[in-house]
């Protein structure tokens, strides 16, 4: 008992880069488990939730957002140096996010068109995932992440076991849930077969095709799915747009989108 009490709680920090905050808020959204998490770990740095801003090192750093500016490119190096385990949370941190759509365009032109005082804007040409800058220990997928997966990741890390976060397709979750397959039964284009599970197959449950929020699954055959989309009447441009959403810059989706764009 005494030894347990003396054991130091793992220190958790949450860092934000270019993102909408939705992923870190999903930790606060985990109402049932939030108190248990707060009891099991020390929240050392989480500006969205607490005024406490304790210095590192941290046992677990949860990193949200992509790298889009020079200062952020330097800051992520500091975060890595202070973190024993670095976990990226969400599509921005893992794949560059929706803002990576600019990677196919001229950012300077956007700045000229959008901002009244473009001289104040300093940004990188590309929005890139954290793993392009520092080694990442685990990537939690999704736009936004599923808070059950985040809690599972924290629980597994505390217990020293592998988290139950499968890398297979959405289709397994979809069939376990008893959804009727929307491409087969309705002819609705669906990214589920090439997308990683984790959301619980929400969209097909509401009669919509998967949008690919969780990014490429472990062995995505985008070429085969692209052929099926064509059979369902989709044009190359439409297919390209389907791959270019929250995980557009994930290399498998990026490659697929570029291949379709030309045809």
């Amino acid at each position: 008992m005494n030894s347990e009490r003396k054991k130091k709680k793992p220190r958790v920090a949450v860092f934000k880069f270019a993102s909408c905050d939705g992923c870190q808020l999903s930790l606060l959204d985990a109402e049932d488990e939030l108190l248990a998490v707060a009891g099991a770990v020390e929240i050392a740095y989480f500006p969205e939730a607490s005024r406490a801003m304790l210095k590192g090192p941290y046992d677990i750093a949860l990193v949200e957002g992509s790298i889009t500016t020079h200062p952020d490119a330097e800051r992520i190096q500091q975060v890595r140096r202070q973190a024993r385990t670095l976990v990226t949370i969400g599509a921005c941190a893992t794949a560059g996010g929706i803002q990576a759509l600019r990677n196919w365009k001229d950012v300077a032109e956007f700045i000229r068109v959008v901002y009244p005082s473009p001289q104040f804007i300093s940004t990188l040409k590309l929005s890139t995932p954290i793993a392009e800058h520092v080694p990442v220990d685990f990537e939690l997928r999704g736009c936004p992440i599923n808070h059950y997966q985040l809690i599972e990741l924290i629980a597994a890390t505390l217990a020293g076991r592998k988290p139950n976060i499968p890398a297979y397709s959405v289709c397994l979750e979809c069939k376990r849930r008893g959804n009727v397959c929307v491409p087969v039964a309705h002819g609705t284009p669906c990214l589920g077969p090439v997308t990683q599970a984790g959301c619980g197959a929400i969209c097909p449950a509401y009669d919509r095709g998967c949008y690919g929020c969780y990014g490429p699954m472990e062995s995505p055959n985008t070429a085969s799915l692209t052929s099926q989309f064509r059979i369902l009447g989709q044009s190359g441009q439409e297919i390209s747009r389907a791959f270019r959403s929250f995980n557009a810059w994930a290399w498998q989706f990026r490659k697929a989108s570029e291949e379709c764009e030309r045809t």
């Binding site: 009891g39 289709c171 397994l172 069939k175 039964a185 077969p193 062995s219 085969s224 052929s227 099926q228």
Partner: protein, 379 residues
Amino acid sequence: MAERLQARLAPEEIDKLIRGLARRGYQVLGPTVRDGAIVYDEVAGAQDLPRGWTDEQEAGRYRLKPGTDGALFGCSVGPESWKKYLHPAQVKLFEADRQDGLFRILGGPAPPARPYAFLGVRACELAAIAVQDRVLLQDKYRDPVYGSRRDPAFLVAVQCTQAAATCFCASMGTGPQVRGAADLTLTEIVNAEGHWFLAEADGDRGQEVLAELDRRPATDEELRLARTAVESAAAQQVRRMDTAGIRDLLYQNFEHPRWDEVAARCLTCANCTMVCPTCFCTTVEDDSGVTGDRAERWRRWDSCFTMAFSYIHGGSVRTSSKARYRQWLTHKLASWIDQFGSSGCVGCGRCIAWCPAGIDLTEEVHAIRGAVNHGNTDA
């Protein structure tokens, strides 16, 4: 066993049959329409059955459409099978908690509150249940989850009188006439003279239920009509699997170039294994919670198409989609025979219709059989 009862029923009796089974304490499950497909769910009466619906199926394509004859069972099998009840997609194996340093197991999975009665079990599905019986019960290691659901289940079979384009039960020797043990076997006839059912029962349980319905003994002509209707379902089948020497064929064609061709199309999405009524593989996942004071162990459907399925020390054994498709097909059609004494395929065609890439295993086997033998060095 009592003498076989063969009776003619008016279609209204199906409603009474459902209510009679419910009165006996069964949860009656049957085909019903949801989200543009036939699924299995609880049916309270004949109004829940897919009356007047039929379906159109092809590789990678399924459409429900209005039929012309008002039949109750005018649809072929849909995406789900009875596996979802007998071998559930996820089941909590146990919960445990930790108190004063002690680890206590708080009980295992409970059997269903009411035993199941399945209404509308097709011949291929009876065959599939028999396959899962062999896998999950007929060994010294009985699966208690499956057993507690399977043992008390009441089976009402329905013989098919029409086939989908994806059906190939006739060539697998599993249908369309019912060969397995059902408590009650129905054949639905809709013709110029009317709409009626032939009901057949061999055992006491089925005969008791049948005895409660308004019926009259079936005439020889009615038996002949029913037989002909089922034969026509066999004649309609456009797909077939040539099973002659199939075990050796697949063992000897481990390096056939066809595996590369199918791998180029295969999405490794696992849909074929999810819809297969005999695929039984599961994974076990532990949830230890944040505090570590309470834990749960869950069993979930798994698939040989996932990378984790073949994960051993150092990595996954089957990393390529070629290796995974070959594993699935070779197990289903060849090594299953060595392992369990029968094919793992019953010819229901679900894996063909519900493959988002439209891969057809009958076509794959045909291609492997048709070309020259490409060596068996690694088999």
